[in-house]
């Protein structure tokens, strides 16, 4: 029994259902997935509680919801750490396994991470500088403590709300700024309520299909292998499709006449200064282990120098 926020009929659900059918066939119906889509089982917090008491065996949840079990899974959530998806791809090759292992130790089997692209600042008023952001009413998800601390580093007092209320709150003016991925904005129809996107990748988002490890290990080993193989493949497909949908969603935003604001050089420097301060805070407060953060920075530098050499070779 798996809960997810993705609605029935979405690409996510279709891939998961195809995967589940395949698992059922290959295990001779010994392992059957039942999905509860569209958030009918409640938000991530509620889903995790239900996994805890055994009503559910798993759920597709955003990374932030699991930070309580393994804080370092938020290593990709350092604000403005990455400039583009190529950087993320390079770093993910080295750190995905670290996160998967960490979550497994904390009691969740995950079959890999499902990338969701970057969150951008999307707003009703133009946001070019850090100062602009401070004058907005910024939404953050009400279940994510790490988001809260990183957004506060920008000097913003955010307004925490459940996802279900964001659209009406944008409409009613309770909030006028959100940070989310283009796909998220289109699917949840928030894009009808915003006019500007600040063109800096803010935070890299990902989700996982978290399965209760205790329950999972009760499945016979041969079946466990089938489930792992099939579901890893299905989630990987979602990961790839997400990338394509992200590009499509950005097109949709542009076609609606939403303006993409690219900050000036000085403004950009400001953003990065505050952002690195926030990363530092995450380390100092013990959320992220320093060695892993440093290692990630090294890998990033490595990527940049490699890119430099390929550029020089050409």
């Amino acid at each position: 029994k798996i809960a997810t926020l993705s609605p029935e009929g979405s690409m996510w659900m279709e891939k998961m259902r195809t995967g589940a059918d395949k698992v059922a066939r290959e295990t001779g119906n010994r392992v059957i997935f039942k999905f509860y889509p569209g958030g009918v089982m409640g938000n991530d917090k509620t889903v995790l509680r239900k996994i805890r008491i055994g009503q559910l065996q798993g759920g597709a949840v955003v990374s932030g919801s699991l930070s309580r079990f393994f804080p370092a899974n938020q290593i990709y959530a350092q604000p403005m750490k990455f400039k583009n998806l190529e950087e993320v791809d390079y770093v993910r090759k080295y750190f995905d396994q670290y996160i998967i292992d960490g979550l497994e130790k904390a009691g969740f089997v995950t079959f890999g991470l499902i990338g969701g692209g970057f969150a951008y600042i999307m707003s009703q008023n133009p946001v070019e500088t850090v100062e602009d952001l401070r004058n907005q009413k910024v939404w953050i998800p009400d279940n994510d403590r790490i988001d809260q601390s990183s957004i506060r580093a920008f000097g913003v007092t955010p307004i925490p709300l459940p996802i279900a209320d964001v659209r009406t709150s944008l409409q009613s003016g309770l909030i006028n700024t959100v940070a989310t991925s283009p796909v998220g904005a289109v699917v949840l129809q928030w894009h009808t309520q915003i006019k500007y996107v600040t063109n800096i990748p803010l935070i890299y988002l990902y989700a996982v299909l978290a399965i209760n490890k205790k329950k999972f290990s009760k499945i016979p080993e041969q079946d466990r292998k089938i489930v792992t193989r099939v579901m890893t493949k299905a989630l990987n497909e979602i990961d790839i499709q997400n990338r394509k949908d992200d590009i499509k969603a950005i097109e949709t935003l542009k076609n609606r006449g939403i303006k993409f604001i690219t900050p000036s050089k000085t403004a950009l420097n400001d953003w990065h200064k505050v952002a690195s301060l926030s990363s530092k805070k995450m380390v100092e407060s013990g959320i992220l282990p320093k060695d892993v953060v440093d290692e990630l920075d090294t890998k990033l530098a490595e990527f940049h120098s490699k890119e430099q050499t390929t550029a020089n070779d050409q």
Partner: protein
């Protein structure tokens, strides 16, 4: 075994056991037989704290009680009589419109009945409407307005339907537009019925006089801004619903206690207590209903029911008829949000197959759910009205049935005449 259990629970309910205990017992039994840890009941109940729209319930209820206990209803009657007294059915029509707009942003959580009812019920009776008629009107109005923006169920339908149909664009703006004429149709039919129902003992008409109008307005000078800033504030986006509720509560407290001085301080404590007992009674039922709904979802009951219905579908007409029946039952059983999330993905593909426009389907869906709220014997709003006005449930049934039939007619028109929903979009 299970049938015996259901029988026992129904019997306890009919013998007058508190409804919350019956629903709790049903949910616990269901979870128990599904082998699920009963702590799930507390998890579900705790979801009340995850639902920001519910904040409007205690705040608006408190404001409604304060207004109901002061002389606001006198002033309201005088005011509507002065301005709309020339019009047959004046106050009833005003009540329908106000309740519909109020429900549009509070949802059909019963706030309208509890908060607006506190004010409108005495006002309607003072204006000369019969007790039974007034009760029926208020109970009905508790879900009138689900089709009007910015109704949350309408938005949720849009988000879900958008995911489902890859081809056609179902924007929430279109749904908002599509809901307007059907909602107006409902209000017009109800208004005509009100005039007809009171034909034998009509409320006497009074010609408009500027002098009386002005003096009535002067008396109510502190209360007139209230609907203006609530409605305009919310519809222009100046206030969020929860903010409007908070400001209203504070404003009413100051106006009635400090300015009009109609409520002495020692009375205030009793009013707060009474209003919050009312809120408690309703929230408790809402909370355990969440748990019961969750059990039904866990056991996939609505899906199985729908599959059963689907085997009888042979044409578009049959589909629509079954849809009406099915949704009326569903509306009484599930909370509206779960109903949308679970049923829309199942229904939409079938509806598209029979050539039903997805926007039209949304309007049909909500119009049916709206009636489900007060369809005897188990519509939630019937219980809330009975509780609020301290009336036996049979009396509420009797008072509401004519209104329900009128709205059923409206729903049939809406269902079988797509033009009404779709004309504004194309």
């Amino acid at each position: 075994m299970i049938y015996l259990l259901i029988l026992i629970l129904v019997l306890f309910a009919l013998l007058g056991a508190p409804l919350f205990s019956v629903i709790t017992a049903a949910a616990m039994a269901g979870f128990y037989f599904s082998g699920i840890n009963l702590s799930v009941m507390a998890i579900e109940l705790y979801r009340i704290a995850d639902t920001p729209i519910l904040l409007a319930l205690p705040l608006f209820t408190f404001a409604g009680y304060i207004l109901g206990e002061s002389n606001t209803s006198d002033r309201l009657v005088r005011l509507t009589q002065a301005f709309f007294g020339w019009m047959p059915g004046g106050l009833a029509i005003v009540a329908f419109i106000v309740c519909a707009l109020f429900t549009a942003f509070t949802g059909a959580s019963g706030v309208t009945i509890v908060a607006m009812g506190a004010l409108l019920y005495p006002a309607l009776k003072q204006a000369g409407y019969k007790d039974k008629f007034s009760l029926g009107l208020i109970t009905t109005s508790g879900s009138l307005g689900l089709l009007l923006p910015p109704s949350l169920p309408l938005i949720l339908y849009g988000v879900i339907a958008q995911q489902m149909s890859s081809g056609e664009e179902i924007s929430i703006e279109n749904l908002f537009l599509a809901g307007i004429l059907p909602a107006i149709l409902m209000i017009i039919l109800l208004s005509l019925w009100s005039i007809w129902a009171n034909r034998k003992k009509p409320v006497p008409l009074t010609p408009f006089s500027l002098k009386t109008a002005l003096s009535a307005a002067r008396e109510a000078i502190w209360e007139i801004p209230l609907p203006i800033f609530v409605f305009i504030g919310i519809y222009t986006g100046f206030f969020a619903v929860s903010e409007a509720a908070a400001v209203t509560a504070m404003y009413v407290l100051i106006v009635e206690v400090v300015i009009y001085k109609e409520i002495p301080l020692n009375r205030l404590a009793a009013i707060i207590k009474d209003s919050m007992v009312m809120v408690g009674g309703i929230l408790l039922i809402l909370g355990v209903s969440l748990a019961f709904t969750n059990y039904l979802i866990d056991a996939e009951v609505p899906m199985k029911l729908f599959d059963l219905c689907q085997t009888y579908v042979t044409s578009k007409l049959v589909f629509l008829i079954l849809l009406n029946i099915f949704l009326l039952i569903l509306g009484a059983m599930l909370d509206i949000f779960s109903a949308i999330i679970i049923m829309v993905p199942l229904m939409l593909p079938v509806a598209l197959e029979y050539g039903v426009n997805p926007v039209h389907l949304g309007i049909i869906f909500l119009a049916n759910m709206q009636i489900g709220y007060f369809t005897p014997p188990v519509g939630m709003n019937l219980f809330i009205a009975g509780y609020r006005f301290n009336k036996p449930i049979i009396e509420i049934y009797k008072a509401t049935i004519p209104f329900m039939l009128v709205l059923l007619l409206a729903v049939l028109i809406i269902t079988y005449w797509p033009w009404l929903s779709l004309v504004l979009i194309s």
